[in-house]
Amino acid sequence: MQIYVCVKHVPDSAANIHIVENVRIDDTVAFLLNPYDEHAVTEAAALKKQMPDSEIIAVCLGNADAEKTIRSAMAMGADRGLLVETDQMCDSITTARALHAAITQDGPADIILTGKESIDAEGMQTLFRVGALFDYPVVTNAASLEIKGTRALVTCELAGGRTRTFSLALPCVVGAGRGLNTPGYPTFPDVVKSRKKPVKIISMDSLNIPSGHGSAKIVALAPLVQKRQPKKIIGTPAVQAKEIIRILRHQAKVIS
């Protein structure tokens, strides 16, 4: 089985983000493998254990430094890497086209895994665009994955603890959620081995990616300063629960 894992080189979520020239961040901060993509790589490695003839290929669009993220994916189980190299900031339309072109050139894919979103752009859409370009079915926020013959059984998490189970015809695209597995830290020998694994560098220009019908471009960035003020919620458990729901809905605006 040919397993492609799309990974992204993102700033560490613990890093202090500084904005430069109003439209980009200071990229001297630590970058790493997107946390959701770690789940995708871990799942690919688990699939390979079940099907040892499989090959795992980590694919990334990014600058030369993104090779480190591919090496991280290889330390976690990927066999080789493809880096579509560009210094440009790409929107999800261009990113999906680049990943599609690189996988098409290298493939064919039996399954494409990736994280359900990246922690930098938080766009939540690249996997759907990759699926549409290949005309493969797509699911997101996967909590379990099982390959049965020519189909993948994927259970996805919804809000409120609900799940939905999908049966997808292979090849397909699966967006990994946090519930899919627990990524393991690579051992030192794994890290050493990853340095010897091949990474193919593909220039973005060589892929002749067609332009899309539209684009998304950052025109301004501003630091989001949130003053955190602790507040004690008092009353009976029912009153406290009601107040927590009110805060989540109307102040934090995280539930509808």
Binding site: P11, S13, I17, I19, I25, D91, S92, I93, A96, I119, D120, A121, E122, G123, M124, Q125, L127, F128, R129, G131, A132, P137, V138, V139, T140, N141, C156, L158, A159, G160, R162, T163, R164, T165, F166, S167, L168, A169, G212, H213, G214, S215, A216, K217, I218, V219, A220, L221, A222, P223, L224, Q226, R249, H250, K253, I255, S256
Partner: protein, 219 residues
Amino acid sequence: MKQAGILIEMENSRVKDTSLGMITLAAGADMTLHALVLDVVNEDTRDRLAEHGIHTIVELALPDDPLIRLNPAVRARAAAFAVRQLNLDTILGLSSADGKDIIPRIAALLDAPLVMDCVDVNFETNIAKTSQYSGKVMADIALTGDLVIFGIRPNAMPPKPAPVKARTLAMDPLVSAPEISHCCPGMMERTAHRQPGGSGHHHRRGPGPEKQRQFFFDI
């Protein structure tokens, strides 16, 4: 004048307040507003949508079988069908749990740019405000193209009445574009914790039993 489609989310056969807030956000701009409803439109739905500024209620009929009706691939294709038919240039949907599984599908199907989790949108410039980098940065993102899509953060805008007279337009995407159903070829249901009395017409009685059931979608 711009033509905007607003993907409406329902709960217990009632339009969610968060969807009404999204209409309020769009009603502040000079646009004709079309509500894209993928669930049954009742009198209360019509009244609430018209009360908040919707000019056209587009009733997209989907089969009662929850495996088709609730399948995000089918819902996205049905919505994309309506967008093409109505020649819309702006789409809004909620960045809710369901919205995150449908809006990006629509954007991918229509190859249109999308910003998710917007807290504000300027519809004249198509610039949306959204958070990035784990909530540390607020980004202004400009979309270009004939069709642009915005996923709106629930509760980003409280609903405010702005009554207009609304007309209803019925569409049957599966009849007009039968290829939509090809994305769920099996349409089989294998349920866990299945309630007696099974499938069909659940949305007419409210979503209670569906919440307890686990669906098995073929896509």
